[in-house]
Symmetry: D3
Subunit: 261 residues, 6 copies
């Protein structure tokens, strides 16, 4: 099985870090293909960065060899539903994967994320995913995304402190890491906190394997059906659905079978 | 006061239709500037179309002469929070404006929209805006967006039928039109239905005037602060915040005062 | 356009203060007519004060010259739905107007109100208006309503302190003032807090202009239809609907048109 | 124990009907005192009727001999929180009592009420009381309140039909009667429907006995504390709290003890 | 009337304590029959203890003389819906009774319970019973259940402290005691706190009297109908519904009448 | 990896059916160990059946060789939290697994279950798991659990019909099968419906593999910590925590590490 792990941040070193986390948990038969977005922000830290990251994610899904599933490696799950429209293969976000995983091993969790300004984004995801009764609180550390990978940074210590506060003050029973750039911290934190610490990259890879293993594919009835054919203008003219998904293929994929057996 | 009404759909005739609705309600001192997105889908009918429409909307906010407020003329309110990040001027979506207006004149409403596949998008907005207790139901007519403006189309009759069902079966007390392309239908429907029929374009123009009249500007504390300076790569390198919002201006705008007077 | 701003508190000096806030934002063609309730509490600070204030508000809507819209100037929005029943003209509450305005310029806000005992009332409005995900917290200052206008009072300083706590501890991105008597504080606070500070009186005046400008009138289908004719006894016999709304007028108003063109 | 059952509708025959339902369930030591409001609508069927009914309810609580508990006999629970402010004795509404009772004997219920226009009022109560997961649906029969007691009326048959639809289509497991004027229908309906049919008048009387039996009194900390002393003007000057609740008594009642033993 | 008060904890001294609280409030004609579960945990402090307590509760309902109502005396309301299936007599839990009682005398309350680990259980009940807007917070004292009845224990002082924090920090207007073992503390606390303090045992006894007094019985349509006849294996073979509820009796009870007159 | 799939229904043929579904999706290195509960109902179809099934599930977790994860094979997820208390290994319910899986491949789903009386149980799970915005409706077919495996039964046709109604009337985009006994229907239905059809047994096996693959174990901080040592009486005396989990082991497991590496 081939899972394409797309980093919507355009920083390749971060992709490597995510790739390590992914390969550490991938099953023997799983090939994790790494892709770094070729357009957009070096680090995604807000609505604007997120909105502009979707283009690069779409490029990675439409180009290159086909994958059995895709993972979007940014905790805001930017472009998740748009990505699900353009392929029948399952697409998972790391925030949804991490939160779902947390509910399997704990009754409550807190999210520890980077900047104060991204806290609202996480809170909106908590609502969208129906996690209001499970998520105790979203906590911002004010550690910038790219600071996470700098050698000598105090990021680890700050994040550990915040997690300890979450356990003590929120009565959280597990920690969800609120940034793809924290993927390498799960083990470090778990050894010190003695509660489950969930990294969304690992969770999304494993759940993608699970969904593919169930032979489930994205529903093509309703809002996730392939985009309707229509003209696209200007610098996005290349993204017109008719060019990307010839009718025959759209129909074939839609009818052919969701379950491939 | 200058309000820029941006059509994220790249179909200019639709912009004209929206412009008529806007100018019909604009106050004497209000100049409505029309802009049709120069990149993206001819009509926005899904998550993919929406996600790709944000680029064109951002272009229209960043380029050209400055406006006192912006209106995003698509019922999915695509890119609303991203747009609010990049300017201190108020930015309104037509879906939020329509729903808020409806609650001022009716205890409940139903939304009548275009395609079945966009229904989910409207339902998610209903949740995001806290309208669950006011919105009885979102109803899809399966009339495509661009069909709305075709002469001889049966779109009007179909929409009228659906509205009548909403009044009868949902016990809706008002109708919210779920597409910018329906902006010219409000009067026609209201004369036949005898309940308030709310077009989001008109509502957003009037509420934009109201917000500007209150001298309110978008909060620059928290998630709507200007994007942080950082590199942007590839075909989006021109969107790097540092290029668009020099630090001095960012700070000036942020500190200068929200209330201008 | 004539907007009647009704102060349900029977303190005329408070009406003047609200009137100043209203006229400061009213559009050139808008005449703001002030009315102080002639019966009930000098200041509304609880469920009992609120319930008894509705009579005076109804009197002001039914008597005197007709207005194009009405604003109820008390943050509990007392009698709002009853008032909407007895006229086709839009009726706005200042709490709903303030909260809706806040969501147009900030993703989150806190309400700063007067007495601890009114906090519950504001919290119930937050729920009724679907603002649970936007409103971070309702904060009571324990400043009585009438203390607000006393010269030499420490009210301003106390309220400023509470707002600063809201920004720091609630991570609020905007402040909603929880009392009509605070209408003159918005500018003072905004200059010090550098976030939007929303006064409901100004918001309701501007949104009333907007709703009238859209030619929307209150839905007369459902719970906001004119009261049914029936006997009223005792000291309220004068409020019998049949006396106030002759059938012909009721029908005429209902059928005649919601949209007046 | 003396329970005062107040009918906020000014129709005495309806009070008698409610009194019969009350006395049929009252415990041996309970004296049910009946009171018909002396001001306001003959029948309460909307927000306006409700708002104006509160005055008469307050009169009945403040005048006459003291009761151990009060019941407000209208399914909209009009003025409930205001009434709780002005006495330490428990005050119960029949809608809240009926819904709470229903949850003790069934996992779900539907409410069958009178006019379409009162449906919204019931739906708002369902939300206020947290009954969204228990209440399947509010059903209006369009039988006017006063029609219920007319001999030869088809009201019974219509209501029975609506209940049967509720069992079949809503999968309700119990019926809550949505009007005080239906108090005499519970037995008739239960014999035909074979599910619990809950009349709020009976429920409120029994729960009032229960609360008094627990020696619980209304909390005087927070929003239900006695109204603050302040001037009341005009035709409501007699309702000024200082006249009604001398400070000594207020303090005495508040301090004296909630639990009287 | 005979009410059977079942203590699902297998500690008889605790049953006595609950019995005293019950008899202190029971009406003259009410016989409170005490039963201590004969199988399971000495004290219920978690999901596992709760799950295993249900067997003993079922035994007490199925054996011995018939009661008019049953009360399950553990704040987690373990097995409540299962118990409702196996009898037509009303079954009440003390947590639901306490929370419902609290809403009749206060707009908000906090729950003060025993161990941190049971907090989640109380929070889930708050959600299940729709009390999210009424319950300010669930507070754990870390006092073990059996510590409550030990002479010389500091439990009382710790609980009083926690209640005072609830009033001050949560702005609670009433206290709900979160453990059957606290039944004797209500008076002690109320005298010191001057707000309603609700013990679920007393509340459930009084509400059981009320429900029986209304002649309501558990709905046998839907999920609370008698268990379907089917084989039961192994050590639970004696619990097969067919043995316990002969078809004739099941039908008789179901049809016979919910209202016994 | 060894996953123990426990059928809380005591019907062995049903376990075989579930085992086939499990093995069809299990990864190469996964050993699925089947266990049929040895005590309780032949088929679980209500609260009573569920409550009594927990004993058998606990037996299967405590006895026999240790597993890396456990799956509870009944759509009501009976005893899930109790089971999580008594082992550090992950425990998954098939209802939660199925619903979580559905959200990864569709924006909305409907649940098709067996008897009307189990519908409420599924609806409560939908709420507990935060799936209210994803689950369109729970649909009962009134096919008894054991009818599902009878040769010549019309169960398949009835369920297919109900699924088609769900797609048409609920606008569901996926189907969740609401009974472990339907595990063999997923492929049959998917081929006819052309939308994802999710069987919880397969989903739980794959998610259990995923959670184990992430090296996550159940949080032992908070409500899922090992049961506290205390006496257990009567026929359940063998379930006393001290006997089952010697302190040393409890501590060792708790401290040792959640992440085993």
């Amino acid at each position: 099985m081939r899972i394409k792990l797309i980093n919507p941040n355009t920083t390749a070193s971060m992709t490597e870090l995510m790739g390590e986390a992914a390969r550490a948990v991938a099953a023997p038969g799983t090939e994790v293909v790494l892709a770094t977005s070729r357009s957009g922000a070096a680090s995604i830290e807000g609505h604007y960065d997120e909105a502009l990251s979707v283009l690069g994610t779409i490029d990675e899904i439409l180009e290159g060899s086909v994958a059995d599933a895709y993972v979007i490696g940014c905790f805001g799950d930017p472009g998740l539903l748009a990505a699900r429209e353009i392929t029948g293969a399952p697409v998972l976000g790391i925030a949804e994967a991490a939160m779902h995983a947390a509910t399997f091993v704990a009754t409550s969790f807190s999210i520890v994320t980077t900047l104060e300004r991204t806290r609202v984004i996480s809170e909106q995801l908590v609502n969208n995913y129906g996690m209001q009764n499970h998520c105790r609180r979203v906590r911002a550390t004010n550690v910038p995304v790219l600071e996470l990978e700098k050698p000598g940074s105090s990021a680890r210590a700050i994040i550990l402190d915040e997690c300890e506060e979450a356990l003590r003050d929120d009565r959280a029973e597990a920690i969800v890491l609120g940034c793809a750039g924290m993927a390498d911290l799960a083990k470090y934190l778990e050894e010190r906190l003695h509660v489950p610490v969930i990294d969304g990259v690992a969770a999304a890879i494993k759940f993608a394997e699970a969904i593919v293993g169930m032979r489930l594919r994205t529903s093509k009835v309703g809002d996730l059906a392939y985009p309707l054919p229509k003209p696209y203008l200007g610098k996005l003219s290349g993204y017109a659905p008719a060019k990307l998904f010839p009718a025959s293929e759209r129909e074939r994929t839609a009818c052919m079978a969701i379950r491939r057996s």
